[in-house]
């Protein structure tokens, strides 16, 4: 029972907890870290169909950044990302606030708003492709009602196609965000509401000044979920527009996939993936620093 026993003891303390953490440790180290390093390393090679360690320096990156399709993809993703974040969260919040007004049929409304989340992006893309199709979708319906000059064909207009995707993306995702935020709203102490009412602060102001700051954790969770979805945007585009018309709705994930597998240029695909990961890191590191580095847990 001397202190010399300690190191061994420490190693095997809570051994079950350590065993239980193995899947997570392996996943993070092997898959996420390992896979990322692997991808980065091979992005400096000229691997074609199969990964080969023949290094070519920054060639793949030079080519990537001079490729107009890649540049369009980045631009599109930025556009989609910004609008998607703004709209999913603001519409989601608006709906959550409305749902929080002791309304009747709350269950029905919630089900209606949430069900699209159960459907895959492939399905979402197909349905909206159809509804937005000018020859039998909204445009033709409005025209058949007599408004002959009505034009609404976002999927065929390169300048509008990203908004067409946005309509579908919002349809699929806002319900879930609404649920998250509704949950957040209901987690707020009733006394806060009483206090603001006593202070005579108008309701809208209470939301802006008191409630939203108090919901910071929910907003962060929501942000993580929504942003992770945006970066991965792929299925929806493939199903709804295939990146068209032209290259007008290309997104980075499609570029990665196409060059890795269709063009059989793994190096180029990996370079593009690396850039995507890098941009994720640039966004996430400051956040992670604030979230985990700044304050102590426990």
């Amino acid at each position: 029972m001397a202190t010399t026993k300690r190191p061994r003891n420490r190693m095997f303390r809570n051994i079950n907890a350590k065993i239980a953490a193995i899947p997570m440790v392996l996943t993070t180290l092997v898959v996420f870290v390992g896979g990322t390093i692997w991808t980065v390393v091979y992005s400096f090679t000229n691997s074609k169909l199969l990964p080969k360690l023949k290094f070519v320096g920054f060639d793949q990156y030079e080519r990537l950044w001079s490729n107009s399709r890649w540049l369009i993809s980045i631009e599109n993703l930025a556009l989609f990302g910004v609008f998607s974040l703004i709209f999913t969260i603001s519409v989601g919040f608006l709906l959550a606030v409305l749902m929080d007004q002791k309304i009747r049929f709350e269950d029905t409304f919630r089900t209606i708003m949430l069900y699209p989340f159960a459907l895959s992006f492939v399905v979402t893309g197909l349905v909206w492709q159809w509804i937005l199709n000018p020859s039998f979708g909204i445009q033709s319906i409005v025209r058949s009602l007599g408004w002959e000059s009505f034009t609404f064909n976002p999927l065929e207009n390169p300048n509008l196609v990203m908004y067409g995707l946005l309509i579908a993306g919002l349809w699929q995702g806002t319900g879930f965000v609404m649920c998250l935020l509704l949950a957040g709203l209901r987690g707020i102490d009733e006394d806060i509401w009483k206090a603001t009412r006593v202070d005579g602060i108008p309701t809208w102001k209470t939301y802006v000044i008191v409630i939203i700051p108090m919901m910071r954790p929910v907003f962060i969770t929501t942000l993580v979920l929504v942003a992770a979805g945006i970066i991965k945007l792929y299925d929806l585009v493939v199903a709804q527009t295939s990146g068209g018309p032209g290259n007008a709705s290309q997104v980075p994930a499609m570029y990665v996939y196409d060059y890795m597998f269709q063009a059989q240029n793994l190096g180029q695909g990996f370079a593009a993936s690396t850039m995507m990961l890098l941009s994720v890191l640039i966004v996430l590191i400051p956040w992670a620093y604030l979230e985990f580095g700044g304050k102590k847990h426990g």
């Binding site: 029972m1 001397a2 202190t3 026993k5 300690r6 003891n9 420490r10 303390r13 102590k296």
Partner: protein, 359 residues
């Protein structure tokens, strides 16, 4: 002398932050120790270390003559009661009481016997088949104590067990805990930030701040002879009055502004001449009178008086320092009245301003 708990050079770091700094405590068998201090002082952390819920960085913990530094909480022979009761919500009271015994694979008859005994001691027999959600706060805390009781251990650890209760229940349960202690006569370590609890329950109090034990002594000792300025200020309500001045005349007098107070009869070490010193006077050790006594009184002006039922507090200003004095409730003083405060120097404390230590 056999110790129930010995803490030897215990250190605990969270990363670069040192939370507990080389603590040493010996607890005698059957002793009731209260860890007292403001929040963040490390008192709960120390208790968690004793329980084995936190791995310490250095040092040793011995319980009942065994080195348990690296033992599992359940192997240390302790029972623990938490502030939020920590009752398992999905289990009945009986389930809560017997959970630990079942984990120890105790025979069923023995479990039943122990549960019955604990329920009897705590008078919770009618509640045994209820879920915690159906209990009141006081009942919940009784069950929580019962959970420690059934373990039949020699050491009880209490982590602010009464802070979630209202004032009435708190004093009731306080008495109950005291009764329990005198009945079972086991060792108790009790964490609180409430000095009344500390003063009423403890055999000895350990006052902590910043991960360091400031003073470990019997309640009266702590009250009357606080080891330093922090302990003096922390214990007692309202707080001790502090007069900033100097000791003069080879330590025979305390100079406070124009007034000089004679220090003969001071209960402490050599006072010496100190250019900066603090005279600490508890509100109940001052007497309000109308005439001055040179070297025994200091002049003051009444600001306000607060009748508190049993007695009354008078707030005054003396030499620019606000002071409070406890007086019988019948004694009313109008604001602005000029009075003199008589000092009982045998109960006063003098602190060195630099070291903050009592002289």
């Amino acid at each position: 002398m056999s110790y129930s708990i010995q803490v030897k050079d215990l250190k605990l770091d969270f990363g670069a932050v040192s939370v507990l700094k080389t603590l040493n405590i010996d607890v005698a068998e059957g002793e009731f120790i209260v860890l007292l201090g403001p929040s963040g002082c490390g008192k709960s952390t120390l208790l968690n270390c004793l329980a084995g819920l936190l791995d310490i960085t250095d040092g040793e913990i011995w319980i009942k003559g065994k080195n348990v530094t690296w033992a599992e909480p359940s192997e240390r022979g302790i029972g623990m009661v938490f502030q939020s009761y920590a009752l398992y919500p999905q289990m009945t009271v009986r389930g809560n009481l017997s959970f630990g015994l079942k984990n120890a694979r105790m025979p069923k008859e023995e479990i039943d016997k122990r549960v019955a005994r604990a329920a009897e001691i705590l008078q919770i027999e009618p509640l045994l088949d209820r879920k915690p959600a159906a209990l009141s706060g006081g009942q919940r805390q009784r069950v929580a104590i019962g959970r420690a009781l059934v373990r039949d251990v020699d050491v009880f650890l209490f982590d602010e067990p009464l802070s979630n209760l209202d004032a009435k229940l708190r004093s009731e349960l306080r008495v109950e805990i005291k009764r329990l202690h005198s009945r079972l006569n086991n060792t108790m370590v009790y964490v609180t930030h409430d000095q009344i609890e500390a003063l009423t329950l403890a055999d000895r109090i350990a006052v902590m701040r910043g991960g360091i034990i400031q003073q470990l002594a019997a309640p009266q000792e702590i009250y009357n002879r606080p080891a330093n300025l922090f302990v003096a200020g922390f214990i007692g309500s309202p707080s001790m009055n502090f007069l900033h001045g100097a000791t003069v005349d080879n330590g025979r007098a305390f100079q406070f502004g124009e007034t000089k107070i004679d220090l003969s009869g001071y209960d402490g070490g050599a006072v010496l001449d100190r250019p900066r010193a603090i005279l600490g006077l508890r509100p109940e050790h001052l007497l309000i009178q109308t005439e001055a006594e040179p070297g025994r009184t200091l002049p003051a002006v009444v600001e306000i008086d607060e009748p508190m039922g049993a007695d009354s507090l008078v707030w005054l200003v003396a030499g620019g320092t606000q002071m409070s004095v406890r007086v019988p409730v019948e004694r009313r003083l109008a604001p602005g009245t000029r009075v003199h405060l008589k000092v009982d120097i045998s109960k006063a404390s003098i602190f060195d301003t630099e070291s903050e230590k009592r002289v």
